[in-house]
Amino acid sequence: MGKTELTNQIRRLRFENGEMTQQQLADKVAVTRQTIIAIESGKYAPSLPLAFRIARAFDVPIEQVFQYEDK
């Protein structure tokens, strides 16, 4: 099984949504700002429910936020 990586577009989507801050997004999806920082930098892969909540916060499908690629 090849190495895989989860990438995300959260930073770009935040800026496209009225320059939303990490804290605002964290409040919207009910997590801490630390977790948003960790997800954005790829240090933490969120659970499926959290991934859906983030996608809903931006009003986009989940695959526009997270991409799963073989490395």
Partner: protein
């Protein structure tokens, strides 16, 4: 005694660093700060205890050397962490990532304590043999050691998993 000087300055630096990390714009939650304080106090308490007990053993011998263990009280200061550090700001103070980190840290702490107690039980058996005996005064020591190891490994595992400190992300 340069070692003691390094330890003193080290404690001062780490404590100041933890307290002022938010002012410097780094994100460190209450759990991390408490874990940092515990790692520092336990390290200092154990180091000083070993040094003092060894010194007293050479000068006064047993059982007076046990007085050196009084320095372990320093480790107890780590328990003041929840009182010293304020609650995190924001409506959410704990989420799924924090729970995963805490669960892994607890598992690491349990494993370390289990290995310590196992080693403490098996070592005298292998060293002294099946007919050997040890003083029962070792039992509270093993209990205390297991407790210290549990807290130390739990705190260290928390710090490692959070990446010691999460750098402030761009807003």
């Amino acid at each position: 005694m340069y070692g003691m000087e390094y330890i003193k300055y080290g404690i001062a630096y780490i404590t100041t660093y933890i307290c002022f990390s938010n002012i410097r714009g780094e994100v460190m939650n209450r759990v991390q700060k408490t874990a940092g304080l515990l790692v520092v106090t336990i390290s200092v308490g154990v180091t000083f205890s070993i040094a003092a007990t060894s010194l007293l053993y050479v000068r006064l011998g047993m059982p007076r050397a046990w007085a050196g263990l009084a320095f372990l009280a320093v480790a107890g200061l780590g328990g003041l962490g929840p009182l010293v550090f304020k609650k995190d700001k924001g409506p959410v103070t704990c989420d799924e990532r924090d729970r995963i980190i805490n669960r892994r840290a607890a598992l690491a702490a349990f494993t370390a304590a289990y290995l310590f107690v196992g080693l403490a039980c098996m070592l005298p058996f292998f060293v002294l043999g099946p007919d050997g005996s040890i003083s029962v005064t070792w039992l509270p020591m093993i209990f205390m050691g297991a407790g210290l190891i549990t807290f130390f490994v739990h705190s260290a595992a928390i710090l490692v998993q959070y990446g010691w400190r999460d750098k402030d992300g761009e807003n």
